[in-house]
């Protein structure tokens, strides 16, 4: 089930590649901020700065979340998005709106609202996980299919709820289906970074245990690490990170898959000390480059999330095919 490919042969010290990525990340940030500026600096700092921060927060959150999720499941194809995590989050959000009425929802303190949603989400996800992962006999294909179908169903339900609340508006559902990187509020952004930093702090303390987790349940328990509680904790972290990114921009199902596979390829290490920051930087860099390229190079009127969906879907198919081939030989 698990596909633990050996990391690429190392050249030089391990942190070498990480530094290269960090440097390119900052270059990309600078490029994004300064390219083709025609307005006043104040405006640009405000406008592009906010967008840049959004991209960084979302990219990092999705990168880390997917990496942790794959470590927890010991599988390199599953991602929180594919398992229906973000659809679940959106559904929860609209059910809250439904129960409280949109006025009550809007007047609530955003931080309070966010934390309630994330808590509810964490519990429902853990429940779902217990149900789905119940038997160890469950095949990986069954899991994936369940997740994908569940995602479809939850999205339909979400659209239905939104339409019931506001039956005259067609566009409501549309916004729920596509992620948008330019329309977020400053409070949410703050919240996103706070959530992100808390998760990073926790991860920094337990990163060596995660390396052990990669060896499998049996070895993990033998080495004195409580497997079950660690996996549960990881799932909580994943939920928080998914909440961060989905609350900020909306669903981006396949971004995590792209980021994590580039990380496995390029990080040159399987240690979480390296791969976690690598995935975070990688996610942010991909989003920034993508957004920049769409805006300036192609001058293409489209949404970045749709492009990511397209590319990520292709990658997912490719991975399934490769895995199938490996199993049969």
């Amino acid at each position: 089930m698990s596909e633990q490919a050996l990391p690429m042969p190392l050249k030089g010290p391990r942190s070498h590649r990480l530094i290269v990525l960090a440097v390119s990340f900052f270059t990309v940030c600078m490029l994004f901020m300064t390219w083709n500026t025609s307005a006043s600096w104040e405006f640009i700092l405000h406008f592009r700065g906010k967008k840049l921060l959004t991209l960084v927060a979302v990219g990092a959150a999705i990168g880390i979340a997917t990496l942790l999720f794959q470590t927890a499941c010991q599988n390199r194809i599953l991602t929180p998005g594919i398992m229906g995590f973000d659809a679940m989050y959106l559904l929860l959000q609209s059910s809250f709106m439904f129960l409280l009425g949109s006025f009550g929802f809007a007047s609530m303190d955003p931080i309070f609202k966010w934390s309630i949603q994330t808590t509810a989400m964490t519990f429902s996800m853990l429940l779902l996980f217990k149900i789905v992962f119940r038997g160890s006999t469950a095949s990986i294909h069954l899991l994936m299919l369940t997740g994908v179908v569940l995602g479809l169903g939850l999205t339909s339900l979400n659209g239905l709820l939104l339409r019931i609340m506001d039956p005259t508006q067609m566009a409501v559902i549309q916004d729920a289906f596509f992620a948008s990187f330019s329309a977020t509020t400053t409070e949410l952004l703050w919240l996103a970074f706070i959530g992100l930093f808390i998760c990073m702090g926790v991860l920094f303390r337990i990163h060596h245990k995660l390396d052990v987790l990669l060896l499998g349940e049996w070895h993990t328990n033998n080495l004195g690490v409580d497997y079950k509680s660690l996996v549960n904790m990881l799932l909580v972290l994943v939920t928080v990170l998914v909440a961060v990114s989905t609350a900020t921009v909306g669903p981006v199902t396949f971004l995590g898959l792209i980021v994590v596979h580039l990380t496995y390829r390029l990080a040159g290490s399987f240690r979480h000390k390296i791969t976690i920051p690598f995935a975070a930087l990688m996610g942010a860099t991909i989003l920034i480059v993508g957004e920049w390229a769409l805006q300036h190079v192609f001058a293409f009127q489209t949404r970045l999330s749709v492009v990511i969906e397209f590319m990520g879907g292709l990658l997912f198919l490719l991975l399934i095919f490769r895995q199938g081939r490996k199993c049969s030989t």
Partner: protein, 304 residues
């Protein structure tokens, strides 16, 4: 049988009663109501049959036009039609949609053949992702040409636009469904295995091609007429199979009737939820169909 007849009649009555209640302008109302009910019945029956044909061809219980990209390709075809020849009549749009979904279904089968893994869950998994990729491509093109609103109208299955003179092409697919019934034995044999089918003297390639053509026509037509109606082709044949087995000669009428009931029921639900307004029936079907599908899936897996 009686139960099914009663169900059809009652869901017909509820569908008719709901809107004609306040205003007794029956003459005019029947001209939109009757077509609407007919469209729901036809598309439900026909999609369920398309699902079962697809399942026989792929020899897999979890595929249907919606999970194999056929419908997404049809919508891609409609998009191309509106980009390149929007003035031509609707039947040209229909032909383009059918052609595209034919290509899409063909590509799906090529993909499926090249997967070495024999897990029966691979077929729907690949299909859904494949459909998602085509869907993303459609959105990309639509956003670029500022047509997203149009596509959105098509994508959400909705019977509220159906009026007299707008749905009659659906009857054409009903002919295909009858043909499928005539050749039900062939489909049953294909479901067993292609070597068995060949052994009893069938030209499997021709049957396969005809079946794919039928599926593509059904998928394309319903996509043009009503939009995406998810899960009918998946849920209905599987439920019928649970009770009546695999002999399509026997089960095909049941599948058609149950498919019609399912869509009709969802359409009535969609009208009843927020009375003056209507919900897109596709969303209702997605929300209802998903748990049923998961239930069938887990039941199946447990037995294996």
């Amino acid at each position: 049988m009686i139960v099914f007849a009663v169900l059809v009649a009652s869901s017909l009555a509820i569908g008719a009663l709901n809107i004609s209640d306040p205003a007794f302008d029956s003459q005019l109302l029947l001209q939109t109501r009757l077509p609407r009910t007919m469209a729901a019945i036809l598309s439900g029956a026909v999609l369920a049959i398309a699902g079962v044909i697809m399942q026989s061809m792929a020899r897999n219980r979890f595929v249907e036009p919606g999970t194999t990209g056929a419908i997404e390709w049809a919508i891609l075809g409609m998009l191309c039609w509106i980009l390149f020849a929007p003035q031509t009549p609707i039947w040209i749009q229909l032909i383009v949609a059918v052609l595209f979904s034919l290509i899409g279904t063909f590509i799906y089968f090529v993909l499926l053949r090249s997967v070495p893994s024999s897990s029966p869950l691979m077929a729907p998994l690949i299909g859904i992702i494949y459909a998602g990729i085509i869907g993303a491509l459609v959105s990309l093109i639509a956003i670029h040409f500022d047509l997203l609103e149009f596509v959105w109208l098509w994508v959400q299955g909705d019977f509220s636009m159906i009026m007299q003179g707008r749905y009659e092409l659906l009857f054409f697919t009903a002919i295909l469904a009858f043909l499928a019934y005539r050749w039900a034995d062939y489909l049953t044999a294909m479901n067993l295995s292609s070597s068995i089918a060949q052994n009893i003297g069938m030209n499997t390639q021709v049957i396969f091609a005809l079946a794919i053509l039928a599926v593509a026509t059904i998928a394309g037509t319903t996509a043009v007429m009503v939009g995406i109606l998810p899960f009918v082709g998946l849920v209905v044949p599987n439920i019928v199979r649970l009770f009546l087995g695999d002999n399509l000669r026997k089960t095909l009428p049941w599948i058609a009737v149950l498919g019609a009931i399912f869509v009709l029921f969802c359409d009535v639900m969609a009208r009843l939820m927020v009375p003056p307004f209507e919900m897109p029936v596709g969303l209702v079907m997605g929300a209802i169909g998903c748990p049923i599908f998961l239930w069938i899936l887990y039941r199946q897996v447990k037995r294996v």
